[in-house]
Amino acid sequence: MKALIASVLIAQASVAQAETPTLTVYTYDSFVADWGPGPAVKKAFEPICHCHLNFVATGDGAALLSRIKLEGARSKADVVLGLDTSLTADAAATGLFAPHGPLPALDLPGQWDDPTFVPFDWGYFAFVYDKTKVKTPPQSFPELAKSNLKVVIEDPRSSTPGLGLLYWVKDAYGDKAGEIWQSLAHNILTVTPSWDEAYGMFTKGEADMVLSYTTSPAYHLIEEHDDTKAAALFDEGNYMEVEVAAKLKSSVHQALADEFLNFMTTPAFQEIIPETNWMYPAIKLPGGLPKGFDEYRPKKSLLLSAEQAKALRAPALAEWQAALSR
């Protein structure tokens, strides 16, 4: 009798499961961490959509795109969340992504007119330093080059900020980018494979500055009540990173995927972003930004178009390698 009841219950449970669709979202690893946005987003979205939200972590943004390319049209993903503007041209060229629906009013510096990718947060790359140690931070790349400050940067071949810096210099200096890199060579303490090592070395006091984001000091302010960290704003402007999501053409849950992308640009999702992903939200939040987020607003926002980024990637990398391999 007990066995019968148990099997009926199991059968019911599996029926209930079959009736609740599952939306599969591929994202980068830190998004799904317990202290990342993932758990809160899942909690907020599931009651609205009456679905299961299943995050699949794949390493970082570049790994995410590799994964989609490997899987092609057979991918189990409905939505891909976490590509950035340095990857979108490549991603669009795969033809695997479907256009998005109408967007609400976005709060990005500059116009957003990409038909496929929906931005969910953004930030500025910047050199972060300790105010108690660096009294007069450089205000441009040439000033940095003239100083004796030691910086840690990330490798553009394996890290998103590293690639961002490559585009930053290229966008600001064009054909002179190689010379800038040569003049910076003596400042570069070392190049790390990813942001983790670089930021870890900076917090250990190994380097004067580290390539990170203008929102990094806000983390220390809010979570550690430490106001000694600051971001240097450059006269050339600071390069932007816009993180985006898109729906896959192959998804069997097209409507649900649209619903998720739509939800992504509502306050319920966006309010989670600043203090879990430590980036700017993509829309104006009703409650405003947390403290520290308005501290560093660059004089100018730099961002190459997706096509420019794609075209400049190889030559910019070659310049970088040539200048720093000496």
């Binding site: 794949t58 570049a62 071949r157 790390t192």
Partner: protein, 501 residues
């Protein structure tokens, strides 16, 4: 064969996915040259420095000797990023050593550059080399040292007549093992190498795969890396290889010639410098983590449990596969079995993970299998070390008791239980301990497959760092270090402890 299949199969899977052809550019050749140079120099330096340390360990008995030998396993299992931060805290620009130098008005030393790559690799591999070589010292009959004493050998005579022949047998194998380990180095070489000049083949694979999405080039580079390993291993099959067991490491070799003041100073110096070199970075990991340890988030403890489970499964697999491979090899199988067991050392972790993904994906959900796959690849990674430990002992058992067992017509299970296992406890304990510790510390394929609820402890450390939580990451790293050492200790002592043979 399973092991070779895992290594070669994943590489083939990636290659099959590739389209078009690839040629190697000047940058790739540069990477190849740098890889060989850093791996070769690191192997030479690790072994050269390990010899005096092993010699001092062999002929001195002092308080804490057992602890020192056990802790020497620690650098090998640390996640690379944690080890790098530990090294930087000691040797870096604002590390303890430079602070001391500046205090005394001396110029700073920089670790960034080729010297840094060597420093990092030596930090990881010197303890391994020292253990292998110490093992060699322990195989020298005590009578030889007594003979040396009664024949009034000078230290130079003892070295030439007793120690050198042993080193000549042990050192090539130790060199090979470390060369292979350094071959797939990536983060250490780049971070401590100071810039893109320190690009290894593994980084080039990474670039081809992730940055250019050029699977053909990635597969080609991985094949080159693999060929290098195979060539080095084949060349070394002719050399006698070291016996990596922990047996008898507790007992210092009796040395009457070692009483001279100069030798005492020499040994004390080697031990002190060796211990400081290895333990200062570990101490820095411990110091920065101890504060955060009690307040670690629940997710970290859960990840620790998950890692523990993976480590136990991986260890069981290692034991089973290594025994099966070892038995078939010692009972007349081909030496190719040994070669197959060595292949995982040369596998690019990225290619291994991606290939596994390509193979599994059409059949099952890789994310659901993330933990079993991690255990499987970890077992494969530990195989070279496990085989090194078990094979010589198995050969000896077969040579001394194989005929007896045959003549009694013992069935396989009885033979294992009565003849093989009792006499294999020490090397088996060491192999299992090393496997467990390696598995605890490996980031491995989990980084490619992990879902939100299958993060292992090393992955959780990376996630904490990725979310600015450097304090918690240090705490989690300390936790990892403690669990790994405890596991190693448990298997090494528990299984290999009171060996009857």
């Amino acid at each position: 064969m399973l092991i070779a299949a895992l290594t070669l199969g994943t590489l083939t899977a990636v290659a099959l996915h590739a389209r078009g052809s690839a040629t190697l550019g000047a940058a790739d050749l540069g990477a190849l040259r740098f890889t060989l140079l850093q791996a070769g120099a690191s192997a030479l330096l690790s072994v050269a420095l390990a010899i005096p340390v092993a010699r001092a360990l062999a002929r001195r008995s002092f308080i804490g000797r057992r602890l020192l030998i056990a802790l020497m396993g620690a650098p090998f299992i640390l996640p690379v990023v944690v080890a790098i931060l530990g090294l930087v805290a000691v040797f870096g620009r604002s590390g303890w050593i430079n602070v001391a130098l500046i205090t005394f008005g001396l110029p700073r030393v920089s670790i960034y550059g080729f010297q840094g790559v060597l420093l990092g690799n030596v930090f990881f591999n010197l303890p391994l080399a020292a253990r292998l070589i110490l093992q060699g010292w322990q195989t020298i009959p005590a009578e030889h040292f007594r003979l040396a004493a009664s024949l009034e050998f000078a230290p130079a005579d003892t070295f030439r007549i007793i120690e050198w022949p042993m080193l000549r047998a042990i050192v090539p194998g130790a060199l090979l093992a470390i060369f292979l380990i350094c071959l797939t180095s990536f983060a250490i070489a780049l971070t401590l190498g100071g810039g893109p000049a320190a690009t290894t083949v593994e980084l080039a694979i990474y670039q081809a795969f992730r940055f250019d999405f050029d699977l053909t080039r990635a597969a080609l580079l991985a094949a080159i890396q693999f060929a290098l390993c195979a060539a080095a291993t084949l060349a070394s099959l002719k050399l006698s290889l070291p016996i990596a067991t922990s047996g008898g490491l507790d007992r210092p070799v009796e040395r009457r010639d070692a009483g001279a003041i100069a030798l005492r100073i020499q040994d004390a110096t080697a031990l002190t410098l060796g211990a400081l070199f290895l333990f200062l970075p570990l101490a820095s990991v411990g110091l920065s983590g101890i504060g955060a340890l009690p307040g670690l988030p629940m997710a970290v403890w859960l990840a620790a449990l998950r890692s523990l489970g993976v480590a136990v499964v991986a260890t069981g697999l290692t034991g089973l596969i290594a025994l099966a491979l070892g038995l078939s090899r010692s009972r007349g199988g081909s030496r190719l079995i040994e070669l197959a067991g060595m292949t995982p050392l040369a596998a690019s972790p990225l290619v291994l993970g991606t290939g596994l993904f390509l193979i599994i994906n059409p059949l099952a959900d890789p994310a659901a299998l993330a933990l079993p796959l991690t255990a499987l690849t970890n077992a494969a990674m530990a195989m070279p070390f496990a085989l090194r430990a078990l094979l010589p002992a198995l050969d000896q058992i077969e040579a001394t008791q194989g005929r007896l067992a045959d003549s009694l017509g013992l069935p396989l299970w009885a033979r294992l239980r009565l003849v093989v296992l009792p006499r294999l406890r020490r090397p088996l304990g060491f192999a299992l301990g090393l496997s467990a510790a390696l598995s605890m510390g490996d980031l491995g394929v989990i980084a490619i497959f992990a879902g939100p609820h299958s993060a292992t402890l090393p992955l959780q450390i990376y996630r904490l760092m990725g979310a600015y939580r450097m304090e918690d990451a240090s705490g989690a790293a300390l936790l990892l270090l403690i669990i790994s050492l405890a596991l190693f200790w448990f298997f090494d002592r528990g299984v290999g402890g009171d060996a009857k043979a």
